[in-house]
Amino acid sequence: MAIVYERSKGLTNAETHYCPGCTHGIAHKLVAESLVELGVLDKAVGVAPVGCSVLAYNYFNCDMQEAAHGRAPAVATGIKRVRPDNIVFSYQGDGDLASIGTAEIVHAAHRSENITVIFINNAIYGMTGGQMAPTTLLGQKTTTSQNGRQLEGQGAPIRIAELLSQVPGAKSVERVSLHNTQNIRKAKQAILKAFKNQIDGKGFSIVECLSTCPTNWGKSPVDAMKWLEENMIPYYPLGVFRTPEEEI
């Protein structure tokens, strides 16, 4: 009787508050499984900034710090600098990383802090009830772009992976998706690799995970996965944007 799949020890026993079908739950599993498989769960310290996933400090089975909105990369910098042997990760949403926290993420990458950033891009603010995020797609309706996002005045959505891949210190930059099991498995490999980079001291790693927000997109979880595939992936192409070996 071999186990094909079971709940990861990297997660606490807490039941999450996430909405039905929210891919935060999937991303949490991948991070937890990666920490366990790499044998570093006991040395891990996670940073959970404001957003739907702030309560991740109750869900990851390792030391955690809650952080102010957008400041997780700075908090993670502080932890890693005084505890270089710990494995430090920040788990951030798109409102957090791509809006209020852009300076922090760019400069953590610029200094090539040896941390791992898990960036959940679901093109909307979830916790506060569905407002437009910097990653909201053109034409996408949200509570603050009720006629659909307009280029004029609201700008085009930010492509974080491409943006950070221009920063020399960003040693590993990859964008993956969580919309089906095949992509979830690829995402797992990317997250494993990002943590391995940290273990090997290679510097700043980030994995951008395209994700769904069924409740605020107003779609069923299954339809939301389809919407992601048909609308987000064309604008946010999947792939590896930087590897530690490439110098720029």
Partner: protein, 71 residues
């Protein structure tokens, strides 16, 4: 002969149906006759002998409700 054993931690399920959509053999259905502790219809499998123990359902489940074992 079923290749896999699938157990659902029924009361942790939020009825999102992602497992049903992900199952390549289409054998996972939502049990309309039952309501779990959270008030959702939990998933169940009728034709377990069709199960190939691929684990796709467990992989996509956001709440780690499903455990899959290879027989």
């Amino acid at each position: 002969m079923a290749k896999g054993k699938v157990t659902f931690n029924v009361d942790r399920c939020k009825g999102c149906e992602l497992c049903a959509a992900a199952c390549p053999k289409k054998i996972i259905k939502m049990n309309k006759t039952k309501i779990n502790a959270k008030g959702y219809h939990p998933p169940f499998i009728e034709e377990i002998e069709e199960c190939i123990a691929c684990g796709m359902c467990a992989t996509i489940c956001p709440d780690s409700v499903i455990t899959v074992e290879k027989l």
